[in-house]
């Protein structure tokens, strides 16, 4: 059974169709890459799933339950955690306290939350920086913290919104390793990126959006040779010149 099922999901802002009848199935234990050029509707889709926007049409099913339009905090309680494209760490409190806020999603006890938060920090390699004020971290560490906060909520599905944008090659490689580790821990991952190089090596399947529509869904090897995808990313001109020889 699919862990997450998006059925004919539509979201329009006035006349703009940000998501146009999108169908996606995410199975348990998979890493799904969601790619597309800027403005393709990836973040909007994310927000609709996570309860930040009410969809204009269609449904979202999670663990066999209709979660369409539920508020974000309930979606999180059901087991979907997300990160934000522009990091939203609580900058005035420590790294550990940030992660503890996430951990309180599954407990009322401070001691339990602290234990869970320390485990997650260790898992993400942030343990040495746990007593730093979050606002003082580097961007790479902030992204890592964003990841740790989401992970601490105890999700079965982790949705990462451009968790690797703005990182250098070493940092990106580390982030990819982290995503792999998360999947090994039994958590399903939905990964939004517009950098293809990040998504291809780790995704089991890749979904491509363009102008709010799903234009392709396949294994990574086939996606990179898909006509529609190349057209969407490089434009008609390059698409044509590529075909001629």
């Amino acid at each position: 059974m699919a862990l997450l099922e998006i059925k004919q999901l539509t979201k329009n802002f006035g006349g703009l169709m940000a998501n146009d009848h999108i169908d996606i199935q995410v199975n348990e234990g998979e890493i799904i890459g969601l790619i597309g050029p800027n403005g393709a509707g990836k973040t909007t889709l994310f927000n609709c799933i996570a309860g930040f926007y009410p969809p204009s049409g269609g449904q979202v099913w999670f663990k066999g339950e209709d979660i369409t339009g539920l508020p974000a905090n309930k979606v999180c309680l059901l087991g979907i955690a997300r990160t934000f494209q522009i990091v939203r760490v609580f900058k005035d409190i420590t790294v550990l306290d940030n992660v503890m806020v996430g951990a309180f999603n599954r407990t009322n006890l401070a001691a339990t939350a602290k234990k869970k938060a320390l485990e997650v920090l260790d898992f993400c390699g942030l343990a040495p920086k746990r007593n730093m004020i979050a606002g003082g971290l580097t961007i790479a560490d902030k992204k890592r913290l964003e990841f740790a906060k989401a992970l601490a909520t105890g999700p079965s599905l982790l949705m990462l919104d451009e968790a690797m944008a703005g990182l250098n090659q070493t940092e990106t490689a580390e982030a990819i390793e982290l995503v792999k580790k998360v999947r090994q821990a039994g958590i399903t991952v939905l990964l939004v990126e517009h950098v293809m190089e990040v998504v291809m090596p780790i995704s089991h399947r890749v979904v491509v959006l363009d102008y709010g529509r799903k234009i392709a869904e396949d294994v990574p090897e086939k996606i990179i040779n898909n006509e529609e995808v190349i057209k969407a990313y490089l434009g008609d001109k390059y698409h044509a010149s590529r075909r001629t020889p």
Partner: protein, 321 residues
């Protein structure tokens, strides 16, 4: 750790001094001064729960203070209910009021929330000024009852008031400490830090904002009931003024918002200034304390936005190797 041991020693000696204080200072004024410090420190701590921890700046807290004062007084005058029970009923009324006020106001963000709370505070004061059954603008003079703990009235000495105020202060600080260390405190800080991020981590933002306001209103209301029993006269100008709402906010801001000890430090700085200038200048100098206070706030907000407690932390950091 040595630092921790020093902290406990400081705390223990602080408590000891406060317990023996009325035995050393036998004149009424120093005792009155300390009672006022306890009262305003408790008010600052209560305001800090919603304004400091949860970051929702309320400038209408006098409404809960007034509710506490009027509820216990009216229950005592009309039904002969003990002020202690009145205090509790006033607290519960204030929680209900917090819900009624919070429900529409929490939909407003940032400054708009603050403006709405000012408006509601003003409405409440004008309502009370015209409500004949509750004494209207003339106010209510509490009946003079025999001195006793049950009646919460003492006419010959301030010492019992001192210990009761100390008790209320201790209760408020313990509650703040409890919030600081528990899920509530973490969630309040998350709401203050970033609403969207808080929601994404499973926090029911509306519910936790209400918890913060309810706790804050409850403790503010208890202070109001105590004030009524201490002064034995209340009117809308003394328990519902906008100035009171602003002062409790300033106490917390000066000391350091979102910390356990910040509002306590704020009260220990402001209340002596306010009481001494009152004595020095009398009625003609009304507001002198606020001029000094306004100056302190400007200095603090420019150089150290985290308040006096932030300043102390800065020094401690510099000392550490």
């Amino acid at each position: 750790m040595g630092g921790n041991k020093n902290k406990w020693l400081l705390l223990a000696s602080g408590i000891f001094i406060l317990i023996i204080y009325p035995l050393i200072f036998t004149l009424p004024f120093p005792r009155h001064l300390m009672i006022m410090i306890f009262l305003y420190a408790s008010l600052g701590l209560a305001w800090n729960m919603i304004g400091g921890y949860a970051g929702q700046i309320s400038l209408g807290h006098a409404i809960y203070f007034g509710t506490g004062a009027y509820t216990s007084t009216i229950l005592l005058m009309k039904l002969g209910v003990s002020p202690w029970a009145g205090m509790l009923v006033g607290g519960l009324f204030s929680i209900a009021l917090a819900f009624i006020i919070g429900y529409p106001c929490f939909k407003l963000a940032g400054h708009y929330f603050a403006i709405a709370t000012i408006a509601i505070g003003e409405i409440a004061q004008h309502w009370m000024l015209n409500w004949d059954w509750a004494g209207a603008a003339i106010g209510l003079t509490l009946p003079i009852l025999p001195e006793s703990l049950i009646n919460l009235e003492f006419h010959t000495t301030k010492v019992p008031y001192y210990y009761i105020a100390f008790g209320i202060f201790t209760l408020t600080i313990l509650a703040t400490y409890g919030i600081d260390r528990s899920k509530l405190g973490y969630y309040f800080k998350a709401i203050k830090g970033d609403l969207e991020a808080a929601r994404s981590l499973g926090i029911n933002v509306a519910r936790y904002k209400f918890y913060a306001l309810a706790l804050s209103a409850f403790f503010t209301s208890i202070c109001g009931s105590f004030y009524a029993q201490y002064v034995l006269f209340i009117d809308p100008d003394s328990v519902f003024p906008l100035m009171l709402s602003i002062i409790v906010c300033l106490i917390a801001t000066l000391g350091g918002v979102g910390t356990v000890w910040g509002p306590v430090i704020g009260a220990f700085i402001l209340i002596p200034i306010s009481e001494f200038t009152r004595i020095q200048f009398g009625g003609g100098g009304k507001g002198t304390d606020l001029i000094i206070y306004g100056f302190l706030i400007m200095v603090i907000s420019i150089y150290q936005p985290f308040g006096v407690i932030g300043l102390a932390r800065l020094f401690r950091k510099k000392e550490a190797p």
